[in-house]
């Protein structure tokens, strides 16, 4: 179990924005994961996708890590931001752009 946790931690720390998702950013395999990918892409955020469907240990491990029962899960600079509902709500209210800017994440102007 500790090795899974170590792996998760290293993934979260490996880049500023990391999305644990079902499928890949290019080929999401779940509507909720797909929505978050679309939002991040719309904002022009560079992020790393970790496909939880590749490993049941990671899929279960990430839920325990954040005490959060569902995928996708978005992490920014090591901090758990939320799942699909929260990311969408923040995006719709303009908070997500602000939050990312505060964290010093580069947004490509579309």
């Amino acid at each position: 179990m500790s090795t899974v946790n170590d792996f998760i931690k290293s993934e979260i720390d490996s880049q500023d924005v990391v999305l644990f998702m079902k499928g890949t950013p290019v080929f999401p395999q779940c509507g909720f994961s797909s929505q978050v990918v679309q939002i991040l892409s719309y904002l022009g955020v560079q992020f790393k996708g970790v496909n939880v469907l590749e490993s049941d240990d990671i899929r279960q491990g990430i839920k325990a890590y954040s005490d959060w029962p569902t995928i996708p899960q978005l992490y920014v600079k090591g901090e758990f931001v939320g799942g699909c509902d929260i990311v969408r709500e923040m995006f719709e209210e303009g908070e997500l752009r602000e939050f990312l800017a505060e964290k010093g994440i580069a947004l490509e102007v579309a």
């Binding site: 029962p69 699909c84 929260i86």
Partner: protein
């Protein structure tokens, strides 16, 4: 494995003090719901903390029996 809307509502009411709960069956298939939960205990809590309280009230069913529940939480406006 579907869940009844009433059962979701009951669990949330039991788990969260003074919660106002509204459940919508989004697809009519008993498997995709939206829940609107308002409670004074959400006041001052982050969105993540608010959703975690609802997930706790659902006693591990979220992500299991309950496949899709779009959550909207808020504290009552004064």
């Amino acid at each position: 494995m579907a869940m009844d809307a009433k059962e979701i509502e009951t669990l949330i009411r039991e788990g969260i003090a003074d919660a106002e709960v509204r459940i919508e069956d989004l697809a009519g298939d008993g498997d995709h719901y939206a829940a609107y939960v308002t409670s004074p205990i959400f006041k001052g809590k982050s969105r993540v903390a608010q959703h975690q309280l609802v997930y706790k009230a659902l006693k591990g069913k979220m992500g299991g029996d309950l496949h899709a529940l779009a959550l909207h939480t808020s504290a009552p406006k004064d």
